[in-house]
């Protein structure tokens, strides 16, 4: 009897530990909400979401409009996806369908190494390597702009897209491919018309996760996009994303001011955006697992 009670207590102890993740997730949500409410109250929802001007330290007119930052974030994210999705899915297809087992064994850890490079290093290279290259190629005074940020984000979301797409493509049952090949389709036709479409939900989930990473990435865009807090007009515009705004300004504002709360409100919007993207990816993956 005592033994059983002890066992129950131990199980409870382990369970409490696993609940920490839920507590942290709720805690993040709570901290963001509770610190955003004063901002929404003082600024007004309308100005916050519909104004494109963000001038928290202006002497004449202080404004807190998040719109240009949201557009900037979406712009660099979409730009990065245009580059990373074809490249990532093609690489995943190569690794799972063409590479020999030996090559595969080398490539997979190499992709993990790319994933392990800190974002501040990628941002640094955006300044010293990619920036000057872009300036030279397009005849610009400097290369710190949305294009630079998009390329860096593409590099950073590649590992996620590659490894998860590769899992999805590898999980397509052998029989599908054999059936297609037996009907006289070439290996290429089989890949394009059978294998990839069968893995499509997994690939989509991989892309969504990569996109979530790109939206939330901070250091690379902070360092390489120029940080001009206004509406971008082209991919050569200097842009300031939501993440960059928080990173630049939170260190300098006094706690418990409108500006301080406004940054939490930006964080809340960012959190909701990434949460939604991840949730969609999660739902797709779950469906996919159930079909398996």
């Amino acid at each position: 009897m005592r033994r059983e009670r002890k066992e129950r207590a131990i199980e409870l102890f382990f369970m409490l530990n696993s609940l920490v993740v839920i507590i942290v997730l709720l805690g993040i949500f709570y901290i963001l909400i509770s610190n955003s409410i004063p901002a929404f109250r003082e600024i007004g929802l309308r100005e916050f979401f519909t104004s494109a001007r963000w001038n928290p330290t202006s002497y004449s007119q202080i404004e807190y409009g998040i719109l240009s930052q949201v557009v900037s974030t979406l712009m660099v994210t979409i730009g990065s996806m245009i580059l990373s999705v074809p490249l990532g899915v093609a690489t995943a297809a190569y690794i799972s369908e063409l590479a020999s087992p030996k090559t595969k064994q080398v490539l997979k850890p190499v992709i993990e190494i790319l994933a392990g490079i800190p974002s501040v290093v990628i941002g640094f290279l955006g300044i010293v390597l990619l920036g000057p290259a872009i300036a030279r190629a397009f005849g610009l005074p400097n290369g710190l702009n949305a294009l630079n940020g998009s390329i860096l984000l593409a590099i950073m979301s590649l590992p996620t897209i590659i490894s998860l797409s590769e899992d999805a493509i590898s999980a397509v049952p052998r029989e599908y491919k054999n059936a297609s090949l037996a009907l006289g389709a070439s290996r290429w036709q089989t890949l394009i018309k059978v294998t990839v479409p069968s893995a499509l939900s997994g690939i989509t989930a991989a892309i969504m996760l990569g996109m979530g990473r790109a939206i939330g990435e901070t250091m690379a865009v902070l360092m390489a996009t120029g940080n001009a807090p206004r509406m971008p007009s082209s991919i050569f515009s200097s842009v300031q994303t939501m993440t960059a705004t928080i990173a630049i300004e939170l260190g300098e504002v006094p706690h418990h001011t409108t500006h301080y709360y406004a940054l939490f409100a930006v964080g809340l919007v960012l959190f909701i955006m990434t949460f939604a993207v991840n949730l969609v990816s999660d739902i797709i993956l779950h469906k996919y697992e159930e079909v398996e």
Partner: protein, 283 residues
């Protein structure tokens, strides 16, 4: 015939894509190593910055990153391991388990700068730890939690069920079984997986920007409540905030080289160890 050509072009496109990805990684590593190696010296690694950070070394940043990573490890490795034991050994397929797993996946997707906001709100302000090694370490600990949990669970999964059944059949309780037959086997795997998470934490900048990292400190952090210098933040400063950016570029490259060496050594060590362990248990 036409199909043949299509197939050739298609396969070559896939090969080229892969080569491009490898090329990108190569350029990143090559550029940092080539331009960073010149800055590396014993003095660079063992002394503090001098003359407004235009000379001298990065020792306080290395030390600060080490200290913060230790706190991160103390928080997230045990929490991750204990949580994973519940998920893999006890949890039944139910709503709670699904919820926990969903929370893990979503936590992994929370932007690092949002963890920074969370750290400010909870550790710096609410608990009153101020901007300190402790606040930064705790923040990074929360950030790595999804990695350590997932990695620990994967390690537990590699332990064959026969190990558990053997102990249970002899009348051992569940906890005795886990303690004597599961954990000893899974522990190395759990640790290597956790190293991957810690490597990521050591390279993070956004979460420590406002939870404790300092621009420049002439002394080392004396207690967990001191501010600290950190490698990633130091690189950010040298690359963007310094008053003589072009003059300190070699120092920035040197810092970048030390940072990626640290992260990659941890990463590769963990990956190699993991592959070895995987093979061992597959047999």
């Amino acid at each position: 015939m036409q199909n043949d050509i299509k197939e050739k072009i298609g396969f070559w496109a896939l090969r080229l894509s892969t080569l491009l990805v490898l090329g990108i990684l190569f350029i990143i590593l090559f550029d940092i190593v080539r331009k960073g190696i010149g800055a590396i010296s014993w003095e660079f690694l063992s002394t503090a910055p001098r003359k407004g950070m235009t000379e001298g070394g990065i020792f306080p940043a290395i030390y600060g990153t080490f200290m913060v990573t230790v706190i991160t490890a103390v928080v997230s490795v045990p929490l991750g391991a204990l949580g994973a034991i519940y998920l893999n050994e006890y949890a039944t397929k139910g709503r709670l388990t699904r919820l926990i797993r969903m929370a893990i996946r979503n936590l992994a997707g929370v932007p690092s700068v949002v963890f920074g906001l969370f750290g400010v709100g909870i550790f710096v302000v609410f608990f009153g730890f101020g901007a300190s090694v402790l606040s930064a370490g705790l923040t990074l600990g929360m950030l790595t939690l999804p990695v350590t949990i997932t990695a620990s669970e994967e390690a537990l999964k590699t332990v064959p069920n026969s190990y558990r059944d053997g102990a249970l059949a002899l009348g051992a309780t569940k906890w005795q079984t886990i303690r004597t037959n599961v954990l000893p086997v899974a522990l190395p795997g759990m640790l290597t997986g956790s190293i991957l998470g810690l490597a990521r934490a050591a390279g993070e900048t956004a979460p420590i920007l406002f939870t404790g990292a300092a621009f420049f400190l002439p002394y080392l952090p004396a207690s967990p409540f001191s501010q600290f210098m950190a490698l990633p933040y130091h690189l950010y400063i040298l690359a963007t905030q310094h008053h003589a950016i072009s003059r300190v570029r070699p120092l920035a490259y040197g810092t970048a080289l030390v940072l990626i060496s640290l992260v990659l050594v941890l990463n590769m060590g963990a990956i190699l160890l993991r592959n070895k362990l995987r093979k061992k248990y597959k047999k």
